[in-house]
Symmetry: C2
Subunit: 131 residues, 2 copies
């Protein structure tokens, strides 16, 4: 809990109290961060979204594109993304079946966030290398 310091008229500290105002604001912020990180954290989700931002992809294409991922992880991550309405899965009744994955419009809104993360990461990398 953040502390709020109370001063008197002479600007002398008279008390420290838990700052519920800041705390409420801060914990709302943290909840929001947590909600987003649930979707962004882990080794693969951002890469999958990144790959899909280039257009529709089939399962096997993603398996090739997203370097290093295995079928199990890909399948699990795609399910998670679908559950969160970020990715749309379409099955075509061809033989053998074709399944296409694409970003939903909502999934597209993540690109801004990812962009902001990437931008900071790029600056950070520069900084580390020029040390």
């Amino acid at each position: 809990m953040p502390i709020r310091v109370i001063y008197d008229a002479m600007n002398k500290k008279i008390a420290e109290v838990p700052d519920h105002r800041d705390h409420a604001q801060c914990s709302q912020h943290m909840t929001a961060v947590h909600d987003a990180m649930d979707i962004l954290s882990g080794k693969w989700k951002i890469m999958i979204i990144g790959s899909l931002s280039f257009g529709k992809k089939r399962f096997m294409e993603l398996l090739r594109d997203v370097t290093g991922i295995g079928a199990k992880m890909l399948s699990k991550e795609l399910k998670d993304l679908e559950d969160n309405d970020l990715v749309k899965r379409t099955v075509y009744d061809t033989k053998p079946v074709t399944v296409e994955y694409e970003l939903t419009e909502y999934g597209g809104t993540l690109q801004e966030v990812i962009g902001s993360i990437a931008q900071w990461g790029a600056e950070h990398r520069k900084r580390i290398f020029n040390k």
Copy 2:
């Protein structure tokens, strides 16, 4: 690897080739994301930065503020953040010792990123609840 489709003058597909252009661009993007996520991922780092964005804090204060964290994790995460020049640790020669943690100027630059994550997270939460 993304695929680039080549069309002839009649706009008929004549070939599909691996798109190294997109791939190079994309993988640079991914590296940047990865660099940033190294710092942002995990259960605690963003919360610690969030707490420190309200001002300097001492170890025990952080232990109370960052709900649920234990001393071991806090100590480890603070070291990581210090190593990355995001947090500054100052020891005062009082008895018992006082140690203060604060965001560096560079650490402050993360607030924008975290803000963008939080904003998306807040919208996401609304969306989930209004379903």
